[in-house]
């Protein structure tokens, strides 16, 4: 019984590792600078955002270190976007493999999400560099950022499991997700501080802050960078509202995982 369990677990780990390595290698194949792009790409991207939004448009100028907060938000959003976007294609794009061998299918979705974690880690280095330049003071709150990232990861993989399984039958999922993710992007106050929304309507701000993407990103900004940033906790003291983002996270993950598990025996013939 135990040896059987171990064997299964071992196989998944070996496979997972190779799939992540393969993913990473394929991504930077045939480029002169190779892996360096993993670092250069976010660096340039951030420089553009920084110049345009902070220096030219003065968005969030009233908040100390808003530039760094902006970058942190963009990095976390890109991470979420990658976990879901790559994950939802994971099964359909591996149809050749799935139709020919039997292996635990969740490995492919997880391998995509691990690639996203590697990218996130590289991006975080760049955020760190900007934080040093911007002289963000070190705080214990920074240690909480990995927890918010973890929450975002749980939400993202749950979403990826659900969408990957639905995508096998209905290829519309990719298009629908593209639209929905645009809504989520603007609804999560990433390019602008949530403070701006509060100025317009406190209620709208509360509704936005109930979405776990907004909550994780604003919380990470609040604890790690500047306590002048509005987040779910500064908006309301209602415990139920405070719990909603966490409940959504757990429900999405559980529903996604169960649905994926139930559908996965049929992927080979449906994909």
């Amino acid at each position: 019984m135990w040896t059987k369990l171990y064997r299964k677990y071992r196989y998944s780990l070996i496979l997972l590792r190779e799939l992540v390595i393969t993913d990473f290698k394929l991504r930077y194949q045939n480029s002169v600078l190779g892996y360096l792009w993993a670092l250069l790409r976010p660096l340039f991207l951030f420089a553009i955002l920084y110049i345009f939004f902070v220096e030219i448009l003065h968005i969030g100028k009233e908040i100390p270190h808003w530039g760094v907060a902006l970058l942190l938000g963009v990095v976390m959003w890109n991470f979420f976007q990658e976990v879901v976007g790559q994950g939802l294609k994971a099964i359909t794009s591996s149809s050749g493999l799935i139709r020919k061998i039997n292996f635990p299918k969740y490995i492919i979705v997880i391998s995509k999400s691990l690639s996203a974690i590697i990218n996130l880690a590289i991006n975080m280095i760049v955020v760190g560099i900007f934080a040093i330049i911007s002289q963000v003071e070190l705080s214990w709150g920074m240690l909480l950022i990995p927890l918010f990232v973890l929450q975002l990861y749980i939400l993202g993989t749950g979403m990826a499991f659900l969408l990957a399984a639905v995508n096998v039958k209905y290829r519309d999922v990719g298009y629908i997700w593209e639209v929905v993710s645009q809504a989520l992007f603007y609804g999560s106050a990433i390019m602008f501080p949530l403070n701006r929304v509060v100025e317009v309507s406190h209620d709208i701000a509360v509704i936005l802050a109930m979405n776990p993407i907004a909550q994780t990103i604003q919380d990470a900004r609040y604890y790690g960078i500047s306590d002048e940033i509005v987040t779910t906790q500064t908006l309301t003291e209602n415990t139920l509202i405070l719990l909603i983002p966490f409940i959504i996270t757990i429900v999405v993950f559980v529903v996604g995982a169960i649905y994926f598990r139930r559908r996965s025996p049929y992927f080979a013939e449906e994909v």
């Binding site: 194949q29 020919k100 061998i101 519309d172 080979a268 013939e269």
Partner: protein, 250 residues
Amino acid sequence: MSDKKYAVEVHNVKKRFSYSRHKNNSLKRAITQVFKKKDRSKDTFYALDGISFNVEQGDFFGILGRNGSGKSTLLKIISEIYQPTSGHVKHRGKLVSFIELGVGFQPELTGRENVYLNGALLGFSRKEIDAMYDDIVLFAELEKFMDQSLKNYSSGMKVRLAFSLAIRAKADILILDEVLAVGDAAFRKKCNDYFETLKDDKKTVILVTHSMADVHKYCNKAIVIEKGKIIYEGAADGAADVYKSLFEKK
């Protein structure tokens, strides 16, 4: 019932496919289908219609049948790639199946990288591959090509590399779907040797083939499938005769 331990048991397996199963990939179709309420049974057929047989430990078991008779579907169900519509399959011991050689090969990666990737699919860790890497390359006769990307390989080279990896697979039960119907004389010789060692090691093998020479040479038992049903079960020689007669009817 006897308490004999079979390596593979296939019990009354049926598999239903729908003719239009690939056309249902959009929401629009799903929605229109709800309104149409068509009789679904007209769109489906049984690729396997009540298949039962047992494979004993150490059998070299042949599955014969014409194209489209349901052999590959059966292999996929035994390999647990497909789920049977009804009935069940069971196996004892580690089962490895080769529906195709070189599954998961990445053309953009080098031969070396593909060895590790494909090895992982067979359940080998990096360390284990390290230990047998030289043997794999030597057997595939690709010493000079391992750092080239796979897209530059000829199909023969790819098959050699895949085969060299496949024979390392540690399994009690092996399932082979015509994987060895390719390659030149030298390659066939290697396959031959591999089959002989499988036989000597008393491994359980399930082989799908169209080569009656192979059936006579290796198999001790065989079944013949026609239109999803078993029309013969027993000694390999008899199976070969039944199989040949399928083509003489018309």
